[in-house]
Amino acid sequence: MAIKGGQIKDTHIENLAKIVGTSAILYKKEDLLAYDCDGFTIHRHLPRAVVFPNSAEEVAKIVKYCHEYDLPFLARGAGTGLSGGAIPLNGEVIISLTKMKRLVSVDLENRRAVVEPGFINLKLTHSIADKGYYYAPDPSSQYCCTIGGNVAENAGGAHCLKYGVTTNHILGLEVVLPNGEMIEISTNGVLDPPGYDLLGILTGSEGTLGIVTKITVRILKNPEAKQTVLAYFDKVSDASQAVSDIISAGIVPAALEMMDKTAIEGVEAAAFPVGHPKDIEALLLIEVDGISAGIDEQIQEILKVCRSRNVREVKVAQDEKERERWWANRKTGFGAMGAISPDYLVQDGVIPRSKLPEVLERIRQISEKYGLRIANIFHAGDGNLHPLVLFDSRKPGETEMALAAGSECLQACADAGGSITGEHGVGIEKREEMRFIFSDEEIAAQTNIRDVFNPKNLLNAGKLFPTPGRCVEVKRNEKMK
């Protein structure tokens, strides 16, 4: 098949097409438009081309080519990233991993699986569920995001409170380095390979150190039993206190999620309502799992804590169907904001759990200051807040206001001794906010590591780190939504 659109004027595109085949490259503007942003839609930029390699060898060839001709390039999974990590700021060649989506092997006895980077997160659990196993990291986007993207972002999810985030589940990686060289680190899953922990530094590096072409992950056995509790509170402070009390009681819940009033309004207006009362200020969704003999004791303790914190109503899921309804309602929470607002901006700060009441209060003040509603849906158990700033991009100036409000929320988290991102990554969105928590020297210590892997900085340049002296103002040449 000939390249669509007839003549190619760009010899680089011609040469890349020779590597992947003409049906596995996009270069026409109308085709590229779909790749001008990811889940962070405020910045957009067109890539030079999008290539769809079918194997690690093809990835290595493409990267070698880009390296030789100094073409900027970056990797892309499902494009669900929320911080702009896959946006081709510099007109990159996008290397889409969506064709590399094979489940390479599963070894239940040694509790590991090997997948290609384009493999969808939830598919892994589905592939092993009949044997009673699952893959623990469960971002809300798990039905569509790729494990390669999860590795790049060190993705978390509701159940990471007990089981850890992506980095705690990665045993080995095959990586194409920015010069096209391919390396394998513990792809057989042997722990603690001698040397500095490259797996640890690659995971969460937001696609700036190499392109992951194969991943060895740990898989877990399903817990014997699970119980889920839903608790409604009239005061946010009571709900926050209950969170601290549960953890202090020595319980490690599998998940401990919170939603505030605005968030509840959103999820109840969207596709998976469960009939939460409209007039409560906060709800907690709490799950414990483990050995059945120990679960009841923990549930009783949780109920006791909730009651002592003036809960209005608290109930235990009666069956798996009810439990699934509660979770569908929670996991589609971000998208649900679409039901009550034309646009929304998701933020992702982290605070020490004990600071929940004061930081939520500050977020309320920020909301008032900007006159924008802010909904909170978040992983309360590990203090990972997701303020959702609701705005209307058609109104002049509101996008900038939303960004400013989001940034101020992150400042509040940093002031409370926390961090500017718990799972969505820095990307483009939070580059400047890195200064809230790191000194210039600390940022230089990180870019020094990047220089070891990515000395020409052709791979995903301009992400993750603040540009020295760049003003915080958003727009500039980048096209608005």
Binding site: G132, F438, L464
Partner: protein, 441 residues
């Protein structure tokens, strides 16, 4: 240059009492220094490093010194920087279950302190009385309970590191979830002090288990297929053991009096859940095995003894008999083969071997005693066995003279240039723990 020539300069940085000239520097384990300095503040650590880095001095870092026999071809460096006097809790947020401590704090004392709050650091290193938290993390040590709780890389959420040029860098933070920038913590965990001095560590804590017990299941006939079948059945069940550690017959004899391959299965949970799991193990108990269940206190006593089985780098090691400790990593269930191979070596050679390995995580520890020649030969034979399995052998403890005859870290990995690149960026003059790590970096 003679030690005394830079003494006065050091004394200008540190108070007199914290600079000590070593009379007897020829420690058989190596990794000592002509002058020992014990800084008492991060600023002092920084000043000492800055001085050393500017003056081409080599620095060896020591926590409790239990791992003095681990890595390194240098007998004496110019300076031995001891963290022994840089200790104590900096901040304990009980409700947040996070703890910030100075690196020289002995591990055991931290656990005792935390126990009062029903909290714990979910790590089980050897020699906890002497090992410092900084050393445990720099050496990335873990024990049998890693199966359930993971290792230092899963518990550390933040650090302060003094770079060789004296700059202080914070990595991570004080919150349990954090993806801002690169996960720099990981670089320093297991780096054996070759990149920087860890001055402060922030850890996430776990609740102290409400109850625990230990099952010792010994296989009288020692058939590996039977042990494997049992392990696979337990692993495939819904039980949640904290450890699933295979002990060699000799180690089992020392710890339990019973000379047989023994699997140490521990459970930590509320009491009812622990008993429930014990009953499950009893139900699937294979024929011709003996089962002993150690409840709470006895289980703890067992582990206490267990953590002292390794040779301790603090001791002088003056006897003629050579002691070696190896860490072997293989794919989980291959640990069975490694423990068996090391047991067989004992009979084939004139050495004593004690070994244990995690069937759920694949890390094995092998302790060998014999003459120098035999110990070195045994290490080579184990390497020949382990490399084809896709594993590695690291020599964790061996006198300096013999360390120079074996590759402590094994062959360089294919991506060695990245390791070297990282070392050169952070420590361009190779001031810290010169040559102590993989490939001599």
């Amino acid at each position: 240059m003679l030690a005394t020539e830079f003494l006065s300069e050091l004394k200008a940085i540190l108070r007199d009492s914290h600079v000590q000239v070593e009379e007897d520097v020829g420690h058989p384990l190596g990794n000592s220094g002509r002058v020992t300095v014990c800084p008492q503040s991060e600023e002092e650590i920084s000043n000492v490093l800055m001085y050393a880095d500017n003056h081409g001095k080599k620095v060896t870092i020591a926590g409790g010194g239990t791992k003095r026999g681990f890595g390194g071809g240098t007998e004496v460096a110019d300076l031995l920087l001891s963290l022994a006097e840089y200790k104590g809790v900096v901040e304990h947020n009980v409700g947040d279950m996070t703890l910030t401590v100075k690196a020289g704090t002995p591990f055991q004392s931290l656990q005792e302190y935390l126990a009062e709050y029903n909290q714990t650091i979910a790590l089980d290193p050897i020699w906890p009385e002497y090992a410092t938290i900084g050393g445990v993390i720099a050496a990335n040590d873990s024990g049998p309970k890693r199966f359930r709780y993971g290792s230092a890389r899963d518990s550390v959420i933040g650090m302060r590191i003094v770079y060789p040029n004296g700059t202080i860098i914070r990595s991570g933070g004080k919150v349990v979830k954090n993806v801002a920038g690169y996960d720099m913590n990981k670089l320093f965990i297991g780096s054996m002090g070759t990149l920087g001095v860890i001055s402060e560590v922030t850890l996430k804590l776990r609740p102290l288990p409400k109850y625990e017990s230990l099952i010792l299941l010994s296989f009288q006939e020692g058939k590996m297929e039977e042990i494997r079948a049992f392990a696979v059945e337990l692993l495939d069940s819904l039980m949640e053991p904290t450890s699933l550690e295979l002990l060699s017959p000799s180690l089992s004899e020392r710890l339990t009096g019973n000379h047989a391959y023994t699997v140490a299965i521990s459970f930590e949970d509320v009491e009812s859940a622990v008993h429930y799991q014990e009953n499950f193990v009893k139900r699937i108990q294979p024929a011709k095995t003996n089962i002993t269940i150690l409840p709470l206190k006895e289980a703890r006593a067992f582990w206490k003894q267990f953590y002292t089985i390794a040779p301790n780098g603090r001791e002088s090691g003056s006897s003629n008999e050579i002691e070696a400790a190896l860490k072997i990593g293989v794919v989980n269930l291959d640990a069975l083969q490694v423990i068996k191979a090391s047991h067989i070596l004992q009979d084939a050679m004139n050495i004593a071997v004690e070994a244990h390995g995690g069937l759920g995580h694949g890390l094995c520890q092998i302790y060998i005693k014999g003459t120098g020649e035999e110990v070195v030969a045994a290490i080579e034979r184990l390497r020949q066995f382990v490399i084809p399995l896709g594993g590695y052998v690291i020599v964790k403890h061996l006198p300096l003279a013999l360390r120079q005859k074996v590759e402590v870290w094994g062959e360089k990995p294919s991506y060695f240039f990245l390791l070297e690149g990282i070392k050169t960026k952070i420590d361009p003059h190779s001031t810290l723990n010169h040559g102590r790590f993989v490939g001599g970096i």
